[in-house]
């Protein structure tokens, strides 16, 4: 039984994991880099260990140091969160070697799924539909060119070891191929340390639909339905929802069964996500397995009522799944918006600095998974995700309206966020209709630079504040307030 968990992460996901552990009476150990000493996850954990300098490779990516720290504090398990070492098979292997329970899949399953080409071959063997494309690693431009011709342009060039869109290139015709290959390999090398690339058929205007799965170590696998994550900016999901408007019960069941087949064929255990592309003819293609807890897991939690982090821990404990597929239902509709420290006026570049004030939206069916508070510095070293705002509604429109009001209340002052952008997306007529394809943002917000409609009111408010500040400065400090309870020492205790 897991009694003490080290959380090898930071920010909102570390906070999320700590809360689940605390409710299970499991002790938590946070790790933190030198710039994170005042962070929320450090505050909430039962114990916190300084792990190194700010640079990720010296702290949150430092496998040796993290393993040593886990041993030092006698943690019997490590939760990796998402990002950092969450899908690093070497880290999982080191935990296995050291006898630390890695809360996630085995290093073997992770290694298999981490290689896009290998996993693709496994899926083909398991009769899982994949995007037409290469069956082997490319070695030369000639190989790629031959494949591209066989698949038919446009094709998509992807990094073999990658994810998150890094190294990815759309190639419209043969003469673009060489340039795309070189750039893709360079990016793949620097992002993943591996420059292998491969090709596949480019699916136009697809939806991104993924299935949440849970697999215990006794061979039981269930899925918790889909999430649609088509709203992406630069291949980064920013809005996710469940259910997807594109699925009917028949298709949902078929995709769910396929997801379970993917998991079984790869020997995967713990929580994972099977990603698909869904084309406009409702054909779906396996993309990859995210071998970790996803950023967007709360939308599934909201519609199914299942706590995925607690399930992860129970599975890591060797427990059998108590949930059965036939008991699971999707109830209502959930939407998540990711809140990033990004400046919409400045090409969405990270917006760094001190957070001066936060007004968090609260209310029925509003959940806010946040890693910030007023007074904290947003540093340049890490992913600029600040929080995730998740709402549930009886139906999609109910949830969407709730999200709108929640975004309007989510004041974060001192840095910029993309909240204004999120608000405009969820108010867009095509979003309301559910016409959400992965090209939604380039199509509908090609050059979005923000809106200044309330600027005049902002100036009025600033003037009132300036006026009052100035008045206080001029007149406020003339009198000295003496409070007798503070300054006089002669107390006598009365009989009562």
């Amino acid at each position: 039984m897991i009694k003490k968990v080290l959380i090898a992460n930071r920010g909102e996901i570390a906070v999320r994991v700590i809360k689940a552990c605390r409710e299970m009476d499991i002790e938590t150990v946070a790790i933190y880099s030198e710039v994170d000493s005042n962070a929320l996850h450090v505050r909430l954990a039962d114990k916190a260990m300084l792990i190194g300098p700010p640079a990720p490779r010296e702290s949150y990516l430092n496998i040796d140091k993290i393993i040593d720290t886990a041993k030092e504090v006698n943690a019997d398990a490590i939760h990796p969160g998402y990002g950092f070492l969450a899908e690093n098979a070497e880290f999982a292997r080191r935990c296995e070697e050291t006898g630390i329970n890695f809360i996630g899949p085995t290093s073997e399953a992770m290694a298999l799924l981490g290689d896009k080409i290998e996993s693709r071959q496994t899926m083909i063997a398991a009769d899982v539909p994949v995007i037409p494309g290469m069956e082997a690693k490319a070695v030369s431009l000639a190989d790629l060119a031959k494949e591209a011709k066989a698949i038919g342009y446009p094709v998509l060039l992807k990094a073999s070891a990658g994810g998150g869109g890094k190294g990815m290139r759309i190639v419209e015709s043969a003469d673009e191929l060489e340039g795309a290959m070189e750039a893709g390999m360079r990016e793949a090398k620097s992002a993943f340390g591996d420059d292998s690339v491969y090709l596949e058929k480019y699916i136009e205007k697809p939806r991104h639909v993924e299935f949440q799965v849970l697999a215990d170590t006794h061979g039981n696998v269930i899925h918790l339905f889909e999430r649609e994550c088509s709203i992406q900016r630069r291949h980064q999901k920013i809005i996710e929802e469940s259910p997807s408007v594109a699925l009917d019960d028949e298709l949902r069941q078929r995709m769910g069964e396929t997801a379970i087949r993917v998991v079984k064929s790869s020997g995967y255990t713990n929580a994972g996500t099977v990603e698909f592309l869904l084309d406009k003819h409702k054909n779906f293609y396996f993309l990859e397995v995210n071998a970790r807890l996803q950023v967007e897991h709360p939308v599934t939690e909201f519609v199914t009522g299942v706590d995925l982090v607690k399930q992860q821990i129970k599975i890591a404990n060797g427990e059998k799944l108590e949930l059965r597929q036939e008991d699971l239902r999707q109830k209502g509709h959930a939407i998540e918006c990711r809140i990033y420290a990004e400046n919409p006026q400045n090409n969405f570049l990270p917006s760094l600095g001190k957070i001066l004030f936060v007004n968090e939206p609260v209310g029925p069916w509003i959940r806010n998974d946040s890693g910030i508070f007023a007074g904290i510095d947003v540093s340049m070293y890490y992913d600029p995700i600040l929080a995730k705002l998740i709402v549930w509604g009886e139906n999609r429109e109910d949830a969407r309206r709730r999200m709108k009001t929640a975004l309007e209340d989510y004041a974060i002052l001192g840095i910029k966020t993309q909240i204004p952008f999120l608000k405009e997306v969820i108010e867009h007529p095509e979003f309301i209709k559910g016409n959400t394809m992965t090209n939604f943002i380039p199509q509908h917000f090609p050059e979005w630079k923000g809106d200044r409609k309330h600027q005049k009111i902002a100036l009025i408010a600033a003037a009132i504040n300036s006026y009052e500040n100035f008045r206080i400065k001029k007149t406020g400090s003339k009198k000295v307030q003496v409070t007798p309870w503070q300054t006089v020492g002669q107390w006598e205790i009365l009989k009562s």
Partner: protein, 165 residues
């Protein structure tokens, strides 16, 4: 440094010294050495006997409010003469002061009247609050400009009792 706090009807003395990043604190018989993991304006995290305690606190009008793990504590901060010298000097400079009530209480006695010339440390009034009597003396030399209450009156937080010019 020595501080005194009152809870309900008990007085507690706490001595504290700082050595590098750690505080050495004695609350009576025993003494512990502690360095807060986080020390924010309204929060600190304390490791005591291998266990971490999250402490929320706020300070207002001579009281310290503390929240630990679902439990709440209200400490009356009994500040010693030595610690108030600075602010009294300041008061001297400005030559104007206002005696106000930092918490609800009852005025038991008033020794001066409007127009009186008064000297520093002269006894002005006695106030009862939190089941204790408190003699209040003049923080500065001056003239009593205004007395807003009479003996027996109840005063509420922040209400000015006596103004001195």
């Amino acid at each position: 440094m020595e501080f005194e706090y009152k809870t309900a009807d008990t007085l507690h003395s706490v001595s504290i010294e700082k050595k590098e990043d750690a505080y050495v604190i004695s609350t009576g018989d025993d003494s512990i050495t502690i360095s807060p993991r986080q020390l924010l304006p309204n929060f600190m995290s304390l490791d005591i006997d291998g266990k971490t305690t999250k402490v929320y606190f706020a300070r207002s009008d001579g009281k310290i409010y503390v929240f630990i793990n679902g439990y709440q504590y209200e400490l009356l901060d009994i500040v010693r003469e030595s610690q108030t010298t600075v602010s009294k000097d300041h008061a001297h400079m400005e030559g104007e002061a206002e005696i106000s009530a930092p918490m609800p209480g009852k005025i038991l006695k008033i020794f001066v009247k409007e127009g009186d010339e008064i000297k520093v440390k002269q006894k002005l009034l006695i106030v009862e609050a939190m089941k204790m009597e408190n003699s209040i003396t003049a923080p500065i030399d001056g003239t009593v400009k205004r007395i807003n209450f009479k003996e027996g009156d109840l005063v509420d937080t922040g209400q000015p009792i006596i103004e001195i010019e």
